[in-house]
């Protein structure tokens, strides 16, 4: 069965590999590259724990083949902080206690940081709609929404 040579830029660094057609992007990240910040939750395209940004848009990496990402840019939770400084969304989840067990957190942050790129001043309703493809089983949505609002304010101030 076919193997494919792929070159994927992940958090700014290019990774090359020979992969089977059936390798999922989430497994490529976690198992081939040992980047375990991206979680696997439901494995059924429901929970959003595996959300990464593919060419800037949040997608569920359990439902993308690694070979489909050839030539593309992927951003994972490991790529949020820069120069030792937390991304405003990370700082916000910390400040607003936007997590309990933390399992959904990487996916929540990848979806909500993309939302803020597209809509820097979302209403509460827009935030709730925006993260509706990401499930939190600790039911921490109230604080997650507060965290996204906090990050929006931080980013408006310039970070």
């Amino acid at each position: 069965m076919s193997k494919h040579h792929i070159s994927v830029t992940i958090n700014g660094k290019t990774h090359e590999a020979d992969v089977e057609s059936r390798l999922l992007l989430v497994h490529f990240l976690r198992e081939n590259l040992n980047m375990t910040g991206t979680h696997i939750g439901c494995d059924t395209t429901s929970c959003g724990a595996c959300t990464v940004q593919l060419n800037g848009k949040p997608v569920k990496s359990c439902t993308v083949l690694a070979v489909q990402a050839d030539g593309m840019e992927v951003k994972t939770v490991e790529g949020l902080a820069s120069n030792g400084k937390l991304h405003p969304i990370q700082e916000a989840f910390h400040e607003k206690h936007g997590l309990q067990c933390g399992y959904c957190t990487p996916g929540m942050m990848m979806t909500s940081s993309a939302l803020l790129e597209q809509n820097p001043h979302p209403t509460e309703d827009e935030i709730r709609q925006g993260i509706s493809g990401n499930l939190c089983r600790c039911t921490g949505y109230t604080n997650i929404v507060k965290a996204v609002q906090y990050a929006a304010d931080k980013m408006a101030e310039g970070g």
């Binding site: 076919s2 059924t44 959300t51 439902t63 083949l65 070979v67 509706s132």
Partner: protein, 289 residues
């Protein structure tokens, strides 16, 4: 869960994709992959070859041309959702795309894939039945236009030949005094509809129904066009009594089965209530523009 082994190709042109399909009986087209990849992971589908359309140029667009709203088959649901043109003039479609699965899935899911999959639980089939849209299929002998009313043949079965690719959806261009609405009940964001109703209406100079389109989601083996309800309303006033009778007829046309989402009786009742509400909203929108 990991899919079974398969081969994968990513053609750059439509003709290359069609040629590849023609030579491989056990091939499947990969569009957004948001239904197909889960099916493969559950081993409910095991194609020998995936022909990925994501690198074929020219299949992603939304434009008005030749009396139609033309949507390229690889257009992402999120692109339709964010289209000002769709929001301004195609309220039924705008409603429908905003409730397809969830916002993250909509970044990859495509309009063409949603239709070609032939799943009665998807939202575009009933929507396009209400619009009386056409789809364009490209094959080795060129293009053909298939009316949506003859596109769905059975569960997961469409009029597309194995070597044809759905390339475009054509929705009739917005007419004056027309409007539509899509109402869906889902247990949670991302679930398939318990039931949903698509309504598209046009009013004549006297304010009566010039045309009515009604599509029903997930209450049969295929999306259902509620034709008895449509023809009942044609030429009649949008009165409460008439709309109630149409809603009753639409519920009669539904063929739901009992499952985890509810009993047959419940779903039929839901179709009646949602037809009523969708028609009222569609009429209100038609009057507003």
């Amino acid at each position: 869960m990991i899919p079974p082994l398969f081969d994968y190709v990513a053609p750059r042109t439509l003709s290359e994709a069609i040629d590849t399909l023609a030579g491989n009986e056990d091939a499947k087209i990969l569009a957004g992959g948001q239904s197909l990849i889960p099916l493969m992971r559950f081993r409910l589908a095991s194609p020998a070859l995936l022909v990925d359309l994501n690198r074929v140029d020219g299949l992603s667009y939304i434009k008005e041309e030749d009396g139609c709203l033309k949507i390229g088959s690889m257009t992402r649901e999120s692109a339709v959702e964010q289209s000002p043109l769709v929001h301004q003039k195609y309220s039924l479609l705008a409603d429908a795309v905003s409730v397809i699965s969830d916002p993250v899935v909509r970044n990859l899911g495509t309009v063409g894939g949603n239709l070609a999959n032939g799943d009665p639980g998807n939202d575009h089939p009933a929507t396009m039945l209400a619009y009386e849209a056409d789809v364009v299929a490209a094959g080795p002998d060129g293009e053909r236009v298939i009316p949506i009313t003859s596109f769905f043949l059975g569960l997961y079965e469409s009029a597309l030949a194995p070597n044809e690719i759905l390339t475009e959806v054509r929705v009739p261009a917005k007419r004056d005094h027309s409007g539509g609405a899509y109402l869906k009940l889902e247990r949670k964001v991302g679930d398939f509809a318990t039931a949903a109703v698509a309504a598209q209406v046009e009013l004549d100079a006297d304010g009566n129904f010039a045309s009515v389109g009604l599509g029903l989601t997930n209450v049969g083996l295929i999306a259902i066009k509620a034709t008895a309800a449509e023809s009942f309303l044609k030429g009649k006033a949008p009165s409460d009594d008439n709309i109630r009778e149409a809603a009753r007829l639409a519920a009669e046309a539904a063929q739901p089965i009992a499952d985890v989402r509810g009993s047959e009786e419940y779903k039929r009742s839901l179709v009646r209530t949602y037809t009523l509400r969708a028609l009222r909203l569609a009429v209100q929108r038609a009057k507003g523009g």
